[in-house]
């Protein structure tokens, strides 16, 4: 079984995000970037499936500028076999454009399973996996907390508002990963060295026959208002009064 894992380069989760002074976007200049944590979970799951003898090949794909190759190498150090880099200058592609590009890659690669993080921590859209499933007309299971491959079927437990739901999907299928699916491994030094020698193919949206149209316009980015310190009130009555008249929540 071949698995394709789509991954994204995002601002590192530990970095304090700053807004550019002209409010045009988040300031990414000289900021530490990393593999999106949900994507990391997707890669980890693929590697575990391979280690369990369920998968034979893992292909990671990313879309972005040259620096995004770092994340492909990171995924390869975790255990992915080869990488595909779709080169774009723009780092703010619409989810639909990303899904279209991925759909082409999936059509070329013909995997049995496509794994994606449920969302990227930069834009938090939570759309790409779903759109990809629609474009390919594949079954999908989002927010996976458990994935079991049985023959031609993936049995996926997903986290939903009411608890857990288990779905059986006929392969090929799309699965997006949630936080509790697994805990990504520490990367081993020998594997970092081996990742350097693994194949990384480059392609372009043109070669894939996808035009990069923008249907979403970013108007302005603002930092959340700084939290004001609280106040102390003398009595329960004063508290109720504040909640009613000042905060207007009751």
């Amino acid at each position: 079984m071949k698995i394709v894992v789509a991954i994204k380069r995002v601002i590192d989760y530990s970095v304090k995000v700053r807004v550019k002074s002209d409010q045009s976007n988040v300031d990414l200049a000289n900021v530490k970037m990393a593999l999106n944590p949900f994507c990391e979970i997707a890669v980890e799951e693929a590697v575990r499936l391979k280690e369990a003898g369920k998968a034979t090949e893992i292909v990671v794909v990313t879309i972005g500028p040259k620096a995004a190759q770092d994340q492909i190498r990171a995924a390869m150090a975790m255990g992915a076999d080869r990488g595909i880099w779709v080169e774009t200058v723009d780092t703010e592609l619409d989810a639909l454009t990303v899904a279209k590009l991925l759909a082409k890659v999936v059509q070329n690669e013909q995997p049995q399973l496509v794994l994606l993080g449920k969302q990227a921590i930069d834009s938090d859209n939570n759309q790409t996996g779903q759109m990809l499933a629609a474009l390919l007309d594949y079954p999908q299971a989002t927010f996976a907390s458990k994935v079991v491959i049985e023959g031609n079927e993936a049995v996926v437990t997903r986290e939903i508002d009411g608890g857990l739901q288990t779905l059986g999907l006929t392969l090929p299928a799309i699965v997006t990963t949630d936080l509790r699916l697994n805990e990504p491994r520490y990367v081993k030094l020998p594997d970092i060295m081996k990742a350097k020698k693994k194949t990384l193919d480059a392609t372009t949206p043109e070669a894939l026959g996808v035009s990069l149209q923008k249907s979403i316009k970013l108007l302005k980015v603002e930092a959340p208002a700084e939290r004001q310190g609280g106040i102390k009130v003398e009595s329960v009555d004063a508290l109720i009064d504040c909640l009613k008249n000042k905060a207007r929540v009751i």
């Binding site: 200049a29 000289n30 530490k32 770092d70 190498r73 990171a74 150090a77 520490y186 990367v187 081993k188 030094l189 020998p190 970092i192 060295m193 350097k196 310190g229």
Partner: protein
């Protein structure tokens, strides 16, 4: 509880911007080592140190090692962490690929080591000692010994130790009494007691490979009759598996001031089978091979502790509200201002920072030269790198560990009373740092090594690479530089002049009276180190100035400001040191010893 974040950006600044990363890649065997690879390695190593090793640092100190009937148990969590450490390959960064290592540059190895020491210095002792033993064996062992022992030491399945000290001999190894009697099969029976053996016994590995200094029955007296032997805790079967016990036992472990999670053992050898490493009676030569890298490693321990202490001191100075800024409140809406508004707290923080970042630059400089000395094909480049490393080894060891004690104490001071309370973890850094000034040759011995051996060797040849580089740089920069740089150039010229004067004085006086050189040694080593850091800070300031306006403004401004602080407030110590040196040995030697 203290926290730790691997200083990746600062490491990158030094290995990529201060030193030219491409010239490292140009050395044979390092073709693959580009900056992307190095970044990835440091990032992953940093992550491991932050999340696996650091959380065991304080608990390891509280619990310590346990000794029960000859067996040593390391603190809770150490065994699992050690296994993960080895499985992830962090014990094999620089080791030869022939034996399963990754063959990466020492430059990378040392940066990884710094992070290990920041996260958990006690833990770092176990793989650190193995690396020391590996180095001696790889250089002096026979092929048979190497193929038998090295692969398992590289994977970490077996560990190594260095058994030098005996109850009656520490610094003066000529007094070693442990006996090695030749056997008919070419092996030796080793008998004696060694003390202060770090990682001498533990529960982490299947076998422990001791490297032991001992004396054969008809060896000449003193230092010229010492040989080096390899003595495994368990004999190794022909198929490479662990065999019978070999007359090596742990008598007890020490109760120490610091590095409590590192087992410091009394090791008894009772007719244990051992094998000669290197030439008979030339054990000290092999031991020095081990010691030189170990001395650099101890310097790195000091650096690692300084860094982690600084990080936590900064965090506290931001969080803790106490007193008001003298001119106007910094946070008028809060009950008090954060600690960092106070000039004296800033003095402490900047002192910590300037020494730590300066020492990091020095460490990586020496590591770079060590790689050149190991790999360069041009004999001149190799010789000059060799000389530089030999000269700088005692400086790295002594100055960086002296700084560690100063810096970690400032860390405690910034916390005030809470620094003295164990829970906060700042006092552990002081206690852990204290040994670094003592082991692998006390800092006094390092100073003697510098003035007695390194300075005198080949009529001062070892000094040349450093002196030439600094004077050429000063000459070149004094002609055309910005005003900001000129102030620092002036400062370095003055300090460099003092170093030259002190060097001349010691060379002259030392010839007449050896006490003169010895009396000046410690002050001279510090003077030398301060000048070396001055040179590095000047170059870092130059880079920071050149990069202004290219983004990361705060980062580069902080480099420049720290450099200016160093030149204004730390480098001037060189004046006092020169005065002390020039005062000679008289006031030390005239004192009547009965009056002490």
């Amino acid at each position: 509880m203290p926290t730790y974040k691997a200083p990746l950006r600062d490491l990158q600044f030094v290995y990529k911007e201060l030193f030219d990363a491409t010239s490292l890649q140009a050395l044979p065997g390092f073709e693959e080592v580009d900056t992307d690879l190095t970044d990835t390695i440091l990032e992953e190593a940093g992550r491991f140190c932050e999340t696996v090793l650091q959380p065991l640092n304080q608990s390891g100190d509280e619990e310590g090692c346990h000794f029960n009937n000859g067996a040593v148990t390391t603190p809770k969590g150490f065994k699992a962490a050690y296994q993960a450490f080895c499985e992830n390959g962090w014990g094999a960064v620089t080791a030869d690929p022939t034996y399963g290592g990754q063959g990466l540059p020492k430059t990378i190895g040392m940066m990884v080591e710094e992070m290990i020491c920041s996260a958990n210095m006690s833990f770092g002792m176990y793989p650190g000692l193995t690396e020391g033993a590996y180095n001696a064996l790889a250089k002096f062992g026979t092929d048979e010994l190497k193929t038998t022992y090295l692969p398992k030491m590289v994977t970490g399945e077996w560990s190594g130790t260095m058994c030098l000290t005996e109850p009656h001999c520490g610094t003066d190894l000529g007094l070693v009494r442990t006996k090695a009697e030749p056997q008919s099969n070419g092996a030796y029976k080793v008998t004696g007691t060694k003390i202060f053996i770090s990682a001498g016994e533990q529960d982490l590995t299947d076998n422990i490979i001791h490297l032991v200094l001992a004396r054969t029955p008809d060896a000449p007296a003193g230092i010229k009759g010492i040989s080096l032997f390899i003595v495994p805790k368990y004999l190794v079967n022909a198929d490479g598996s662990v065999g019978a016990a070999n007359g090596v036992s742990c008598g007890s472990i020490e109760h120490k001031m610091g590095i409590k999670a590192s087992a410091t053992c009394v090791i008894n050898f009772d007719a244990a089978e051992g094998y000669l490493v290197g030439t008979l009676n030339k054990g000290m030569q092999a031991m020095f091979q081990m010691m030189n890298t170990a001395r650099l490693g101890v310097g790195i321990q000091g650096l690692g502790l300084s860094e982690v202490s600084y990080q936590n001191a900064v965090a506290y100075a931001r969080d803790r509200l106490q007193g008001r800024a003298l001119k106007a409140p910094f946070q008028p809406d809060k009950p008090a201002d954060p600690l960092f508004v106070h000039p004296d707290v800033r003095r402490m923080l900047l002192t910590m920072r300037a020494y730590t970042e300066g020492n990091r630059a020095l460490a990586i400089w020496v590591a770079r030269k060590l790689d050149e000395s190991n790999r360069a094909t041009d004999p001149k480049q190799k010789q000059s790198a060799d000389d530089f490393v030999a000269l700088m080894t005692p400086i790295v060891k002594a100055f960086m560990t002296d700084c560690a004690t100063d810096v970690t104490n400032l860390g405690v001071q910034i916390y005030g009373g809470h620094g003295f309370i164990r829970e906060w973890g700042m006092e552990q850094f002081v206690r852990d740092a204290r040994i670094t000034q003592i082991y692998e040759g006390t800092n006094g011995i390092q100073a003697l090594d510098l003035v007695g051996r390194k300075m005198a060797q080949n009529t001062g040849r070892l000094l040349r690479p450093f002196f030439h580089e600094v004077s050429e740089y000063l000459e070149q920069k004094s002609a055309d530089s910005s005003d900001e740089l000129q102030v620092m150039i002036g400062g370095l010229m003055k300090a460099f002049g003092r170093l030259q004067q002190a060097t001349g004085f010691i060379a002259q006086q030392g010839l007449k009276d050896p006490d003169e050189a010895a009396a000046a040694a410690t002050d001279y080593l510090r003077l030398f180190a301060l000048v070396a850091l001055g040179y590095l800070w000047l170059r870092m300031a130059e880079i920071a100035l050149a990069k202004q306006g290219e983004g990361e403004a705060e980062f580069y401004q902080a480099k420049l400001d720290t450099a200016q602080f160093y030149f204004a407030r730390l480098l001037p110590q060189t004046g006092a040191l020169l005065s002390a040196i020039l005062s000679g040995s008289q006031t030390l030697m005239q004192f009547n010893h009965e009056a002490f």
